[in-house]
Symmetry: C2
DNA sequence: CATATCTCGTTGCATATGCAACGAGATGAT
DNA sequence: ATCATCTCGTTGCATATGCAACGAGATATG
C-alpha cells in the first residue's frame, strides 16, 4: 500500500496544501489565525451571533471559539456582550474595524483560491465540489450511526 | 456570502471531519498521533527510508519528522541510525513491534474509512477522487507559479 | 423555597507546535 | 589545508492546543 495514493492521506494532505496557501494570505499578510478568520467571516456576513451559533457554524469547540474571540476582541475586530435572555451566553458582533478588515481580506483570499482553481478544468471543479458535498453528508451520517451503536 | 457553502471552508472542514474519525481509530485506540501514523505507515510499507525521503513523502517539515520519530523510537516502533554515506542524515526502519502494530491498525483504519464511504454512491466517490487529484496538481502548479514570480 | 443537575464560558495545566538558533557534517573556493 | 557557506537534525523558547476542572447561570425536582 502506497501512502501517496491512499485516499485518506490524499484528502488530508491536499486540503492542507490548499488551506496553507490561503493562510499565507489572511495569516501572514493580515495576522489572522484560521479560527479567527472563520469567526470574522461569520460575523462580518451575519451581523450578530451567539456563542452557540458560532461554535456550530465553524465546527470549532467552545474553547477554540472563546480563545479566538478573545484575540479578535483584543484587536478591536469584534465585540462581545453577555446575552440578555440567557446570561451564560455571549452575543458577538463585528466592529467597524472588523468589517473593514474583512472587506480587505476577503477579496485577497478569494483571488488566491481562484488562482489555484484556474489550474483545474471546470469539469474537475464540479466533480470535486459534488464529491465533497457527498462526503460531508457521508461523514455526518456515519457519525449518527456510530452514536446509535454506542448508545 | 455564506461560510458553509464557501468552497475553501467546505474542503477544510470536510477533510477535518473525515480525518477526525480516523484519528479516533489510530489515536484513541492505539495511541498514535497523525504524524506518527504517517511515518509508521511509510516505514511499514517501504522498509527503510532516509529523513529526507520521510519529510518529502509525508509533507511534514524536518522538525515534525524529528519529533514524531523520537516518539516512535521511544515506543520501540521504529529504529533510527546515522546514514553511512552522509552522516548528517538518518536512516529509519520499522521494528518488528512497529510492523506488528501497523498490521493491527491498518485494517481498523481501513474499515472506518470504508464505513464512511459506504454512505456515498460509487459515482460520487470517483468524482471526489478525480477532483482531489486535479486539485492536488493545481496546488502544486500554483506553488510553482508563485515561486517564479517571487524570484 | 431549597437543592440537585445541566449548560455555558473561561482558565490551569500538561503537552504540542512553529520558528529561530545552534552544532555537526558536507561542499566549494582559494 | 583553511575558511566560508550550505544542508541536516535537534533543541529552546514562546505560543497554541486539548482536556479536565471550575464557577456562573439556568432548569428541574422536591
Amino acid at each position: 500500500m502506497k501512502l501517496e495514493t491512499y485516499f485518506p492521506y490524499q484528502l488530508a494532505s491536499t486540503a492542507e496544501a490548499f488551506s496553507r496557501q490561503l493562510v499565507q494570505v489572511y495569516g501572514r499578510t493580515f495576522g489572522l489565525s484560521r479560527e479567527e478568520w472563520r469567526l470574522l467571516f461569520l460575523l462580518a456576513s451575519a451581523g450578530q451571533l451567539s456563542s452557540l451559533q458560532l461554535a456550530q457554524r465553524t465546527t470549532l469547540d467552545k474553547v477554540q471559539v472563546s480563545r479566538a474571540a478573545t484575540r479578535l476582541e483584543n484587536k478591536g475586530l469584534i465585540a462581545r456582550a453577555v446575552a440578555d435572555n440567557d446570561r451564560r451566553l455571549r452575543q458577538y458582533t463585528c466592529t467597524k474595524a472588523g468589517r473593514s478588515l474583512f472587506n480587505q481580506v476577503f477579496p485577497a483570499v478569494q483571488s488566491c483560491a481562484d488562482a489555484i482553481l484556474e489550474h483545474m478544468s471546470d469539469e474537475d471543479i464540479s466533480k470535486l465540489k459534488e464529491g465533497l458535498r457527498a462526503l460531508q453528508r457521508a461523514v455526518v451520517e456515519y457519525g449518527q450511526d456510530k452514536v446509535k451503536m454506542d448508545g
